[in-house]
Symmetry: D2
Subunit: 355 residues, 4 copies
């Protein structure tokens, strides 16, 4: 606030999450203007333009990049496009926000890192929105204030609602999702690094498919568990899954030497409790858009402010690279059954040193 | 513990609660022996004798009172017998425990008070078991330790499970229950006096029967609410009912000048939470025997200890009388629609002064 | 969304809540433009204009009303100005949103009602924001869907944080707040009418000042309790207060014939639980701006949409009048100690019939 | 109940837990008589005899075994004595209850198993009391009834209160505790097998000592985490520790294909919530005697009934052996840093086949 400048944003990707970003960018972000939308689906483009009053519409991403009115590109396209679109937008001189992941393969993540490092004056931000969720932010501040002493163990659950499984199975038959640990656990792996203040060293990951056994044929798991040893004998426990009966279960616990914090133990939908012949019932959030609505908004606000303030956001490309490296180690461990050392290639120096 | 003496108890009443008391007295009370059982139903007597190893069985209460081996009489018979049985047991020289209420009418409560006062060397205890429930005891100690400052408002819910309604309707057609406020709220009225440390002055009570409208014809209510002004501008809010969908809802809240205590907000059955397509579900206790199992046991332990220690228990007959007087004021207010002054006849001096 | 028109709003009042409204109107409301701000304090006006990019600034309300660019007036000034400012804005042809209350006296509420009725083509909306809170909206929908059968009893707590007491005492020495029931309970009285679908008939209200005894000298109470009989033997229990140790306690419970809903039992700040040597701790919201942030936003969104759609919002002026009438009845009962009939002057026909 | 016979029990070990068992056996177990107590500390023996009215007292265990009035021996002595005392009691013809563990070393556990198998007509029971806790029993029944489909992942927390740490450090300097996984996690390892209905195959365990670093010198950890792969791709996650700030944290979660059960998420002390300037606080249980009071009682009741009924209890010696084998695998993994196969020696056939 207090800025007179306005950031013009072009958004690519108008799926469910893309459309949510579009609504936010159009109406709810101070000093921001949604000036262009892009999708390979022309109907999505037209609808967004009409409903949100967006002047420019594209079905060709590179054409949008030639629009000189734009200041920043917001990438919410399918994961397989991220790496390429980030590189091109940076090369064209734009500030870039990209949804996670940096790419579907480790090499893509490293390519993005290189591109970002080549353009230090452009803002780059990765959509680890949980770091903007109020409860997660509050927990971080509490830890920094010493409320639980030194964090030594983190437990993260990230389980998608069972009702989304049929859609996922349909998608997974013809697309590469990255598998449970890369696709679902990546936010948790980032959170673990953030809260523990340490990098992963070794991991063992296991999993199974007991209800939807076709997942096993896709080399994937319905429910997986990983144990990670972090530097300094810190510990991480992760449950990732796609078969949560009660909704979208995102829960994080940080155990410290003097106390423990839990976020989202009951993944409640709202503040209503229903008491009826079943007992006392708390209904649950049914997906990421519902649970993280505020975080999706606040990350975009911070992206715009970072551009106006001429600073980089707190979530750095290295966070994406290191979380991806850990996700790949989980995936390898799950697939081989072995304990896996988390490789940190020379390129992956810590984000603190990186800048 | 540490006593060598053993208290021999004769129990009258072998209904559901009576039988629970019998099991406790037979097996779970140190220095106590269940020596006799009495019921107008000879089968109940035989069964209890056989299963619990009780030497004496009676179908005639006065005959039991002639058994010189007994030290104490435990009364768990229907409410309409309480007053008479208490008087006779005291006259025969026994220590007496009686389930609530002291009687169905105010005069009966006063008659019992007179009888108790005539036998100051015999232990008399009224079954306000909630005062022995660990959570209620803990709350009392916290308040005495200043945790919430001065208690100024109490809210009490006492709502029977809806599933018990058909049985109650059957009972109420041919019996006088005392009505919602005397039958259901009496424990709460006692708790209010206990926690606030003050006596009631005025009450307004209202109610309605929206699901089981036949209750209105019995001059009773399915759900009732009372607001009571206590001495010193303290306040009591009471909800009594018989139509709780989720189980047996006993909840108490004490608001003080520096904090608030709540007991039983979720009337949980146990520590299990079920997460399924309904959300996060806490199942609830389904009745007083389940909720107050520990309290029923501990009140009997205290009764036996009081006898062995030669002292009176903390719950005094005056507590029964004053709670009954308040219950009657609620009932009168509900029936007349008017604000009612809580009468405290001369006989009702405070329990503190009484002894 | 989908509208091309944009509503230009002029806001009067730039206190804490006014400033929150200003931020919302400036940045977060689709099809809305904050075109003017007004306050008797010129510094507040300048600051808001600078930070929010507002073209027009006024220290004179009537001057703002002469601005022909404006479509609507948003009133967030002190309560004593509401009635007059509403009348003038309506007379000048504007759509009007006003913070509660309609006025400090019953006659003011009725004057506003008359004014609104004289301008049926202008949108008028009263800031009963709780009706826009997601949890409250969800509860309403659940009830309409039959989740708890017929609502028969509502319990509402509205207790301000103790830490705000010193500021309130300062204010109350030289201002008329309306007293606990009108100032604090008015939202709850509206909610009771909304959820029960019935109007109040009789009330008894009591209260006391045990920590801040100076409140008694102001004819006010620190903590108050009211029992209200609604049509059809429905019941309402209200606790209003200004001395909540743990934060801002807004809790609502609706008991129906088949179930119960509770909103905000733990007035939690966020989804973080802290486990340390105190036990498991949930920190609480500390005021209305924190608890109802989303509701303040959504009510403004609905106001703007109602203007664009040419319809009246769901909260009608009659809701304000009837809630105020009930609040006055509570106040009278508290002051006289008597049971009070809730007067419904001829002017107060039901909102359903009103339009 | 209904038995006329009475089981005479001799108890060895009068430490904190031993004394709790003594109180239960003396007063709260139907058809049971505490006839003898034994401790190397003659004062403990005298005190227990006097307070509980126990006729026989011993400081020599073998002397107690020569008492022909006894039917059963209850072992609550230090862990290092268990194996030997069990063997001797079985050899002397007694029914035997032993606190966990079967022994401090795997060979001891196997020796006990052999001894038990040599005396199939004597009741042998191991004190896995959690299987008798009402919440755990309820969860088991729910699972058997299909409430969560097929159990696929279990998460168990077993963390001792930090306030017990100084005592433990004192003890551990001169005694072998077995280490975190054998000493603390053994109950959880048994529960995992019980709920999953599967045996462990592989484990990786890690841990650290961040507050009490002297634990590292004892080859032990303050907080440890283990991930276990069970047959059928089922998963177990375990946190064991001795540094819980908020009390005694025992929590168990079972994730199934159709739902999830959680037991003890908030390890609450009782049903009281305290609301004060800290927020809403639930105080926690501070140790095993408080948390599992009911379970300690009910396991003893079942032991006595099993003797009277001439049957073996549900918890079999093989459960102890298999849980111990898994505990040793955790310990080995923690000490070597490697993934460890859980050995199941030929002697360890499954309990289902064993009888």
């Amino acid at each position: 606030m207090g800025h007179n400048r306005c950031v013009s944003v072009g958004l690519v990707g108008l799926g469910r999450l893309g459309r949510q970003h579009a609504d936010n960018l159009a109406f709810r972000i101070p000093n921001c203007r949604l000036a262009a939308v892009c999708s390979i689906n022309p109907e999505e483009v037209e609808e967004a333009q009409a409903q949100l009053g967006v002047p420019y519409g594209y079905t060709d991403y590179e054409e949008m990049l030639r629009n000189k009115e734009l200041d920043a590109i917001f990438i919410a396209s399918p994961s397989s496009y991220h790496c390429d679109q980030i590189e091109k937008a940076l090369a064209a001189g734009f500030h870039v926000f990209s949804e996670k992941p940096l790419g579907l393969y480790m090499e893509e993540a490293l390519r993005v890192q290189e591109a970002v490092r080549r353009h230090p004056d452009q803002v780059f931000m990765l959509g680890f929105m949980r770091r903007y969720d109020r409860s997660y932010v509050y927990a971080k501040r509490k830890i920094e204030a010493g409320a639980i002493g030194e964090p030594v163990l983190i437990r993260c659950y990230g389980i998608d609602p069972a009702q989304a499984m049929p859609g996922f199975l349909q998608f997974a038959k013809s697309n590469y999702s990255g598998g449970l640990f890369l696709d679902m656990a990546i936010h948790d792996l980032d959170l673990a690094r953030w809260y523990l203040g340490a990098e992963a060293e070794r991991v063992w990951a296991i999993g199974g498919s007991h209800r939807y056994t076709e997942l096993a044929q896709l080399q994937d798991a319905e429910t997986g568990a990983a144990l990670v040893q972090f530097a300094g004998n810190k510990m991480g426990m992760f449950v990732a899954g796609r078969n949560c009966a009660h909704g979208y279960h995102i829960e994080t616990e940080i155990i410290g030497t003097l106390g423990t914090l839990r976020i989202g133990t009951v993944p409640e939908k709202n503040q209503v409790a229903i008491m009826d012949d079943r007992g006392v019932v708390r209904e649950c959030a049914n997906g990421f858009l519902e649970r993280f609505e505020q975080a999706y908004l606040d990350e975009a606000i911070d992206f715009v402010r970072a551009i106006l303030d001429g600073r980089q956001p707190e979530v750095k490309v290295e966070d994406g690279v290191l979380s991806t490296a850990l996700g790949y180690a989980c995936k390898e461990s799950f697939e081989t059954g072995q304990l896996v050392e988390v490789s940190t290639p020379a390129a992956l120096c810590s984000p603190h040193k990186a800048r």
